[in-house]
């Protein structure tokens, strides 16, 4: 089945729909929202245009080395984004994030490509790039929430941390409640999302695949696998990041360093 292309006129007709929310913003006196909506849409158009462009070249070259380098670049951008969104100091968090995100994306992504899809060439652009992209994008959100929960907890409940240490807990034991809470809180939306998938929401991946000509049966199988690998990779990425970040977060007297950039 061929995918129906969207003509430029069709794109313009689609974009014209934005006039409705912009008009409502205007009527409600929300001028700031008009500006931010138009800026966001302009950014999206530019970013996706560039994405289409680089994906075309990545697919044409289809080089494993270029693809891996591309994924590492995505991970680096994601790491800086997490650092900015959590206000955690780059020198503290970027290296743990690079290790966590790239390690989890490559380990889980390659497991999926090699053992689930049984691809003879797992670094094939058509599969490798989208799978790594969807993993990195989802891990980013989990890491932001997980790291915020972890460091907020340590800053707020320092006395509890010291109580555990002062009564003979090892560092790993004293830190465990904070890690547990970070994982619980950051993965809760992911679990809730999985639970209602197909009933409350039809994931964009399924819609994309169906529109792209894939049979619905295949599209939902892909979605099931994607949900599982996103969940697993997110947990792995957060745990690895916390493991490496924890070692850099305390001084010799178990005092939490100045980990956050002040507003």
């Amino acid at each position: 089945m061929m995918t129906t292309d969207i003509s430029y006129i069709g794109m313009a007709v689609g974009m014209a729909l934005l006039a409705v929310p912009v008009w409502i913003f205007y009527k409600l006196g929300l001028a700031r929202q008009i500006g931010s909506t138009l800026t966001a849409v302009a950014r999206m158009v530019l970013q996706l245009f560039l994405t289409g462009l680089y994906l075309r070249y990545l697919f044409e070259w289809n080089s494993p080395w270029v693809n891996v380098l591309w994924v590492l670049l995505m991970v680096a951008v994601a790491s800086f984004t997490v650092s900015r969104n959590t206000r955690l100091r780059m020198r503290l968090i970027v290296l743990p994030l690079l290790a966590g995100l790239s390690g989890a994306a490559l380990a889980v992504g390659l497991y999926f490509l090699l053992f689930v899809l049984n691809l003879p060439h797992p670094f094939d652009s058509r599969y490798f790039i989208p799978v790594m992209g969807i993993l990195t994008g989802n891990m980013l959100g989990v890491c932001v929430m997980g790291l915020n929960t972890f460091y907020d907890g340590l800053q707020r409940e320092r006395q509890f941390f010291l109580y555990m240490l002062g009564n003979g807990a090892s560092h790993a034991e004293a830190i465990k409640p904070f890690v547990r809470r970070a994982i619980e809180k950051s993965l809760a939306p992911c679990i809730a999302n999985i639970a209602v998938m197909g009933m409350v929401s039809l994931p964009e991946t399924v819609i994309g695949q169906i529109l792209g000509g894939t049979a619905p049966g295949i599209a939902v199988k892909y979605q099931m696998m994607l949900a599982v690998i996103i969940f697993s990779a997110s947990m792995l990425a957060l745990l690895t990041t916390l493991f490496f970040a924890d070692r850099r977060s305390f001084d010799a007297y178990v005092r939490l360093r100045d980990v956050r950039i002040r507003k």
Partner: protein, 218 residues
């Protein structure tokens, strides 16, 4: 034996104490007194390895407390903080919190033993199933102290254990500490409370960065 020799600490440019020296032997209770902000809690933090000294040193049984050895030293200590927000809902969970630690695997938690400690501290057994938020400050501290009693470590560090306690509860706490000391525990108590100080073997007073051993006068 816990020994502090010529210890000095300053905080934000202010000298909290200078050339502080004392020893606490097994079975002894040392009381650290002084006004608020004088450095009593800071001294406990130094003994726990949570804060560096500007000068001097701390040793336990002749071995120096260093950042690398502190975790091992703390396995011989029980610590009762003045306050701490614990991530538990029920008093029963609060009492059992430390018994999941690897170091405490040999010390099995026993509700019967805990109730025995509570009886000595004048705590009602009915508190066990209550919420932590329902405890008064004094009850909270005595629950924490009873847990330290169950752990039966060689060293106990307690920060203001009788704060917000009436005379009767303070006396019970003092007797409780004496009982722990008679079992061989070396105890350091930071307190404002003269009533509690009466149960201690020795006392030092920190005022304006200077430390006086007031044992003779006490």
């Amino acid at each position: 034996m816990l020994e502090v020799k010529k210890a000095s600490v300053s905080l934000n440019g202010k000298q909290l104490f200078r050339d502080l020296s004392f020893t606490v032997g097994d079975g002894e209770i040392l009381c650290v007194m002084g006004p608020s902000g004088s450095g009593k809690t800071t001294l406990l933090n130094v003994l726990l390895g949570f804060r560096p000294l500007d000068g001097g040193h701390v040793s336990v049984d002749g071995e120096l407390l260093t950042p690398s050895s502190a975790e091992e030293f703390r396995k011989a200590m029980a610590y009762v903080p003045q306050e701490a927000a614990l991530p538990v809902e029920l008093v029963s969970e609060m009492a059992g919190l430390l018994f999941g630690l690897k170091i405490n695997r040999i010390v099995k938690f026993s509700k019967e033993r805990l109730m025995e400690e509570w009886r000595r501290l004048g705590l009602d057994a009915g508190l066990y199933d209550r919420r932590v938020a329902e405890l008064s400050g004094g009850e909270w501290r005595r629950v924490m102290l009873s847990v330290a009693g169950l752990l039966a470590r060689p060293i106990l560090l307690a920060d203001e254990p009788t704060s917000m306690l009436d005379a009767e509860a303070t006396a019970l706490t003092g007797e409780y500490l004496r009982r722990m000391a008679s079992a061989g525990c070396a105890i350091v108590v930071a307190t404002h409370d003269e009533r509690l100080a009466a149960y201690c073997d020795r006392r030092i007073v920190i005022t304006d960065g200077m430390c006086d051993d007031m044992t003779e006068e006490g």
